[in-house]
């Protein structure tokens, strides 16, 4: 789950990372008031979960409260990469002398967290990684030991940070590490971390992604979820414990197991079709869950055919069939449906669906070919 800049920075601050004075506004009038309270120059920053906000015009400087109101009016009426701007952060503008990048993420291959620093802050770090990878200094953190003080000095040395800032920098490193660890983040990033003309080290931006699997122990963070970034169907799917991702094609898919769900999409494509979604009903899915999955698939107007591929293991074929029948009664689908059920209680499942006016298939290839033909109107 991605967090907004202001949310990330609040968490960083809790762990001792200095951030600029500022607050979030939802209206231009509020923005003006906050700017007046702060006095002097402020930055008005769109709070939207997309990258490249600055380039898209979502970050503006304002010299007076009146200007802050104007900029906020503009920004609050924007859409950035399709997402509406509902909040702006009004931060005191810093006098920037130097911009640094500092971040922590999981290094999958090393199976450890990796902390990265670069003197090339303020720009896209992926771009730095591509063009000048030697400018990114990395240290791996032992998950049992945690970050060590010498490692922060290694980073400071690696990015040629003047010695007078080491202590402040080290404090930020530890704060970021604690924020990452205690929030179960998969990414915690400050870009840029600035050294101000006054000699302060300050996190003027912040970004965090928190592990969805760990939200059960962070109810405070779970509440910060911004539903704007997700398709409504995806939100609905999560309520039922379904894993659903909307795609652009016209063949709706309902599958048990993530690997098999991806494969079903691949085989549809292999035979000339386009999947409308990824949907994993998970292991041991109940009839109720299956019915919810079915409703979600059919709520998408693009769907011209549905392919149901169930390989029973923990999931039972008859249970899935009952869910499908219940959902069909409720939503009365007008599109052709192809069902392939094998494994645990498959015979019973097939028997239940026999009277439901469904196209049946024995193998995945057979099912995919029939679904592709059905979506093109060649099979009903």
């Amino acid at each position: 789950m991605k967090l907004h800049e202001y949310q990330s920075k609040q968490i960083f601050a809790k762990y001792g990372v200095p951030i600029p004075k500022g607050r979030v506004a939802t209206t231009a009038a509020e923005a003006r008031q906050i700017a007046a309270e702060l006095g002097g120059r402020v930055v008005v920053k769109a709070q939207v979960l997309v990258g490249g906000r600055g380039k898209a015009g979502g970050i503006k400087l304002a010299n007076t409260p009146e200007e802050a109101e104007e900029r906020a009016t503009e920004i609050l009426s924007m859409k950035l990469k399709g997402l509406p701007v509902r909040k702006v952060l009004i931060d005191e503008a810093a006098h920037i002398a130097k911009e640094i990048y500092l971040g922590i993420t999981n290094d999958r291959a090393a199976r450890k967290p990796v902390m990265m620093a670069s003197a090339e802050g303020g720009v896209e770090i992926e771009e730095v990684a591509r063009q000048t990878p030697e400018k990114i200094i990395k240290i791996h953190i032992d998950p049992l030991l945690g970050l060590r003080g010498y490692q922060t000095r290694d980073l400071a040395l690696g990015i040629d940070l003047p010695k007078e800032h080491w202590k402040a920098f080290s404090k930020v490193c530890f704060g970021l590490w604690e924020a990452y660890k205690n929030s179960d983040a998969t990414l915690a990033e400050i870009n840029p971390l600035v050294v101000t003309e006054e000699g302060q080290v300050l996190a003027v931006d912040g970004k965090m992604i928190v592990d969805d699997n760990a939200l059960f122990r962070h109810p405070d963070i779970a509440e910060m979820r911004d539903l704007d970034v997700e398709a409504p169907e995806e939100v609905e799917a999560r309520k039922y414990g379904l894993s659903y991702i909307k795609l652009d094609g016209d063949i709706g898919c309902m599958v048990n197991g993530a690997g098999l769900a991806m494969t079903t999409m691949d085989v549809i494509k292999l035979y000339g079709g386009e999947p409308a979604n990824f949907l994993d009903i998970g292991g041991g899915a109940s009839a109720e869950k299956v019915a919810a999955a079915f409703r979600i698939i059919l709520s998408e107007p693009n769907v011209k055919a549905v392919l149901i591929n169930i390989f029973g293991g923990i999931t039972r074929g008859d249970e899935v069939a009952r869910g499908i029948l219940a959902a069909m009664e409720e939503v009365n689908p007008q599109v052709p449906m192809v069902a392939r059920i094998v494994g645990t209680n498959a015979e019973e499942g097939r028997r239940l669906l026999a009277n439901a006016n469904m196209i049946t298939a024995d193998t995945l290839v057979d099912a995919a070919q029939k679904a592709v033909a059905a979506a093109k109107g060649g099979l009903r």
Partner: protein, 289 residues
Amino acid sequence: MSVLVDKDTRLIVQGITGREGLFHTIQMVAYGTNVVAGVTPGKGGQWVLDDKIPVFDTVKKAAETTGANASVIFVPARFAADAIFEAADAGVELIVCITEGIPVQDMMRVRAYLDQKGSRLVGPNCPGLLTPGEAKVGIIPGNIAIPGNVGVVSRSGTLTYEVLYAMKQLGIGATTTVGIGGDPINGTSFLDVLKMFEEDPQTEKVVLIGEIGGTDEQKAAQYIADHMTKPVVAFIAGQTAPPGKRMGHAGAIVEGGEGTAAEKIEALEKAGVKVAKHPEEIAHILNTL
């Protein structure tokens, strides 16, 4: 012959009195797996399966009393990392974790700890292992595979069943199937299992079932190119997956342009691996080798 599990496996089930744990214990016992004990904290002293299997409060007690050498974990995600630590501290050699949804930082600590301990972890978020005709540890349906000479290793669950089933249709059997799991940090990699299959005299061919995310398949390809004498057939799921979207498994995501199906397929083909276009084709390719 087989790898990791066989008829000499003496198994503990952690979470044996839970819904999933009990259901699959019945299945494993029916298959012929030697389940010697169960563990559920607070339920020590009880018995399950018509008083055939004793339940203990701790893994240590269960292992000491029964001489168990393996454990399978069915406990909920929030307690699963602790269950792995407990099994490792009790000296269990093989720990198989079925549980899905363990926080990734928990798994990083588990891996770092296990590396010092000498226990082998398979999973988490995996279907477990099946040595057809001998033992099943986990949730792979026993009736979809027959004994044979093909070693199968996979990051996925039901996709593995699909492949085993397609193999069975053509009369092709397996030595052992190892589900390594769909999480970004797991206990056993493709590479670890390929080494075992290369050394197992009865395994003559190998099937590798990968998916998008990470670079485990690429490392496997390098090992195959450098060290493997046995033919390998592969399938990679997620060729149509859009970047930046997590496809169900926590580990199945294309990030920063890395971990795509295309780069994995390319690496494997370069290593001389035949890559199937769909799972059923794996069985047909095996027949030509």
